[in-house]
């Protein structure tokens, strides 16, 4: 192995908190060779980001770092802010997960790139601008000379991530730290960004430390991988070796975490629960003094959907395709036109108050397990709230008993119900959200990306839980997701949506094996590249 350019030895990171010390990174050692891509994988809380951030001196004020991190022989741990700042942004640069918030909305992208260049190199404005344009061209931003004066909000998520990469590479660093740079992006764009990074690495020869939770991505871009768990490195080595022949049970568990199996089909003669015909959700855009309608955003444009008892219909699409809007329209949470009926009862003519009693039949589980639970209520109160509304005659003790039951049903300890949501992990919170929906014994549950914010192994457990609950209670699911692997494991039928319309619809297995529409093919191809098994 050639001389490593970045070398971490026995790195420890500790945080002082109210609840005592947290040992976030425990004696981690790893090294990255020049021009090499090292993947650091692990689930949330494994310390994979903290290892890299701490070694670059980017750590919260209550943290402390010991050990050694050397960049081409220079020790970084214990270095002051000023010398670190001459290294960060010049020799080592970073890109982050969230392209929407990593750029300053008040400055053009050109200004931001130029300031990074001039911060580290003594060159004139005009020259820096030329370099910035070159950097944008390098990341394949079309018409870079003009786009350089665009503001971040004028660019899409994928383009912003490209700008972030351009900015990170503008000073030709030795090492690029990429912290989940594609997690927030759609699959097709994710594939493009990964391709771009690989190309740029060939061109410029920098080393990449790629932090991710997605094993598909690791397989695709990295030669060597470090697997982390609870702050410790459990396994490292060449990707083919580690993934082909995992030695540590945790690595095996991660590799095995892809949701497997298919849903048992619902009986063919089961009754129709939800029948939606030609649903349209249009948002008028009003401008001017008289607020005249100047344009209409067609979020959902003529979608029909039938959901039978015991059936799961998966709705797939990229961001902006209108899949979540459709789910909310069916729940009557946003105004829609067309016709929606639940068990032969038309929903659209009902007003808010008349809709309320029906709400216990149709429940909703949200994507974000952090935002969907009220932070100032205990878990027990959150779960039992539906009962307060729909069964007001129940005593407090009875409600509490039912909440405990519901927690047991989602495999959480019922004794935890006096705690508050922020004390739970993402997966546990999603179980709480599911318990809140299930306590009312609904007929239909609309699941809006219920697993997207979770780690793979937890996704798998949630998928299994949802399938069990469906079996047990004869539930019908409307499963909204961008993740084809999970949709396949959950649904009987799949609807593919694009720009508010359904482009393809069909039984799960045939649709994934042989998609007819070009868009579906693209979606599946992109997903396959990062590890979807299409058999």
């Amino acid at each position: 192995m050639p001389e490593a350019i970045f070398h971490i030895r026995n790195l420890d990171v500790r945080f002082r908190t109210n609840q005592g010390d947290v040992h976030a990174v425990k004696s981690v050692s790893l090294s990255i060779g020049p021009g090499e891509t090292l993947a650091i994988v692990g689930e949330s809380g494994s310390g994979k980001s903290q290892t890299m951030l701490a070694s670059l001196g980017l750590i919260a004020s209550n943290g402390s770092v010991t050990g050694s991190a050397r960049l081409t022989g220079h020790e970084l741990v214990g270095l002051g802010e000023a010398p670190l700042n001459t290294i960060r942004g010049r020799r080592v640069t970073m890109i982050f997960q969230e392209p929407m918030t990593s750029l300053d909305p008040l400055f053009t992208i050109g200004q931001q790139i130029v300031s990074v260049i001039r911060r580290h190199r003594d060159i004139g404005k005009a020259e820096a601008r030329k370099e910035a344009i070159a950097a944008l061209e390098r990341v394949r931003i079309p018409d870079a000379a003009r786009r350089i004066d665009a503001y971040p909000h004028e660019m899409s998520g994928g383009q912003r991530q490209r700008v972030m990469i351009a900015m990170a590479l503008a000073n030709k660093p030795d090492l690029l730290v990429a912290d989940e740079p594609t997690t927030a992006l759609d699959v097709t764009i994710q594939a493009e960004i990964l391709d771009l990074l690989a190309e740029l690495q060939r061109e410029m020869g920098m080393a990449i430390a790629f932090i991710t939770h997605d094993l598909g991505i690791v397989r695709r871009i990295a030669r060597r991988v470090v697997v982390m768990r609870r702050g410790e490195v459990v396994e490292q080595g060449p990707v083919a070796e580690v993934f082909g022949n995992p030695r540590h049970p945790y690595t095996r568990m991660l590799l095995d975490a892809e949701p497997k199996g298919l849903k048992a089909p619902a009986p063919a003669d089961s009754p129709v629960l939800i029948e939606a015909r030609d649903v349209k959700v249009h948002f008028p855009i009003r401008t001017g003094l008289l607020s005249r309608v100047t344009n209409v955003v067609k979020a959902v444009d003529g979608v029909s959907i039938t959901l039978r008892r015991g059936e799961t219909v998966g709705i797939v699409g990229e961001s902006g395709s209108g899949k979540s809007t459709l789910g909310r329209a069916i729940m009557r949470m946003i105004p829609a036109t067309g016709s929606i009926s639940f068990e032969d009862r038309a929903l659209l003519p009902l007003d808010k108050a008349a809709m309320r009693p029906l709400r216990r039949q149709i429940q909703l589980v949200f994507q974000d397990p952090y935002g969907s639970l009220s932070p100032r209520m205990t878990v027990g109160e959150i779960i039992a709230e539906g009962l307060l509304v729909h069964e007001p005659h129940l005593s407090a003790a009875e409600r509490d008993r039912r909440a405990a039951e519901a927690l047991n049903e989602v495999q959480l300890d019922a004794a935890l119900r006096n705690r508050f949501p922020h004390e739970f992990s993402g997966g546990q919170r999603q179980r709480i959200a599911i318990a809140r929906a299930m306590i009312l014994k609904p007929r239909v549950v609309i699941l809006d990306e219920p697993t997207s914010a979770l780690d793979r192994s937890i996704q798998k457990a949630i998928v299994e839980l949802l399938r069990d609950l469906q079996q047990k209670h004869g539930l019908s699911y409307l499963f909204i997701s961008h993740d084809l692997a999970i949709v396949r494991a959950m649904s009987d039928r799949i609807l593919v949506m694009k720009d508010g319309r359904v482009v393809e619809e069909g039984e799960t297995v045939p649709l994934i094996r042989a998609p007819r529409e070009a868009y579906t093919q693209r979606l599946l191809a992109a997903a396959a590249e990062i590890g979807l098994d299409r058999s």
Partner: protein, 371 residues
């Protein structure tokens, strides 16, 4: 683990976290303690100082602040001579021993024993006792106990103890601050939450009404209310509270607008919870952080407002007093008796400082970025 499992299972609410963070904030904790001491002093102090707040000591007008007891030794003899001359007698052979003065009264005619009450009427002495009469009552040996009084902060222009009055004033100022703030919160939170949550035209109408109230000249408005409600200060500060809720309504409305888009509110909506339930269980508890902070800043604002109104002569009425009244009184006497200004001002500014520090501390403690 010997700890009972019940306590282990009890959750740590966000409030508990905030409390711990506040405990670590030294400035805020010191302020809390100081404010507690001031409050306690204002509540209990007036009963312990030994002076009723409206008691006038004509002999001690504008006595400077001091820790020594009054009357001072050099004042005793002239005071005795003054009383004696009222009795149409001459004081001779005056000897002061501790708290008792012995003397001989000499008069051209017999001295009426009842006229010895002049001693008691003075603020310096208790009732005089006759030891012996000589020369058919024209000469009288008497013993006069000296009344020892403490005026820690001095006395005002009417000869009232400033210490007692400062504490009494604190009661009034703090009560007014809390009362008006309570009214402001009650109206502001409800109004803002309803406007923000209902939204649409209702929101526009409600907030335009707030804007109209904002545009009224504030002092003019308060003066009008004072005239309208008469000089009853409880009513008056309910009225001040009824003006001060405008900021609170705006803050709470802004919070509500962002909260209403949060998923947990949508989740409650999807669950079928009505607007009342959503407001009471989801919106209002989550706005309380900023509300608590704003409250601690509003209390000093109201106290200052009261001071200002009292300064104008529209506030509390004599003999009742408030810090504002005392300070305005002190300001008039700043040249001759600056202590009249200094002591109430120390109390007021300390309280305001404390409340502001507590507000700052609470804002830091409740800041969601730290979670």
């Amino acid at each position: 683990m010997t700890e009972p499992s019940a306590t282990v299972m009890q959750g740590r609410s966000l409030w508990a976290d905030a409390r711990d963070r506040l405990r670590r904030n030294r400035a805020a904790m010191t302020s809390l303690i100081v404010l507690g001491i001031i409050t306690l002093a204002c509540l209990l102090g007036p009963a312990l100082t030994g002076h009723p707040y409206d008691r006038v000591y004509p002999d001690y007008v504008k006595v400077a602040a001091s820790v020594t007891a009054h009357p001072t030794p050099d004042k005793i003899v002239p005071a005795i001579e003054r009383v004696a001359s009222r009795l149409r007698a001459k004081a001779e052979d005056i000897r002061v021993e501790g708290d008792i003065a012995r003397l001989k009264l000499v008069a051209p005619r017999a001295i009426d024993e009842r006229s010895l009450a002049f001693f008691e009427r003075s603020d310096l002495f208790h009732a005089a006792k006759v030891l012996a009469r000589e020369d058919e009552g024209k000469v009288m040996r008497i013993e006069v106990p000296i009344q020892r009084l403490h005026f820690w902060f001095g006395t005002d222009g009417n000869g009232r103890d400033l210490f007692t009055r400062t504490l009494i004033a604190g009661r009034v100022s703090l009560a007014i601050g809390l009362l008006a703030t309570f009214v402001a919160i009650l109206i502001g939170v409800t109004y803002g939450a309803v406007a923000g949550y209902v939204g649409g035209r209702t929101d526009t109408l409600m907030m335009r009404a707030v804007d109209v109230l904002y545009s009224l000249p504030f002092i003019f408005f308060v003066i009008m209310l004072v005239v309208f409600f008469g000089r009853n200060f409880v009513l008056m500060f309910l009225a001040v509270g009824a003006v001060e809720w405008l900021d609170m309504a705006r803050i709470v409305r802004g919070q509500t607008l962002s909260l209403k888009r949060r998923e947990f509110v949508q989740a409650a909506d999807a669950l079928g919870v009505g607007p009342g339930g959503i407001l009471a269980r989801h919106i209002i508890p989550n706005t309380l952080g900023p509300v608590v902070v704003y409250t601690t800043l509003l209390v000093p604002k109201v106290i200052l407002l009261e001071s200002f109104l009292s300064f104008l002569g529209l506030g509390v009425q004599e003999p009742m007093t408030s810090w504002g009244v005392l300070i305005s009184d002190g300001a008039r006497n700043i040249q001759g008796a600056s202590y009249l200004l200094i002591f109430p001002a120390i109390f007021l500014t300390t309280t305001l400082f404390c409340l502001n520090f507590i507000g700052d501390g609470l804002r830091d403690a409740l800041d969601p970025r730290d979670r």
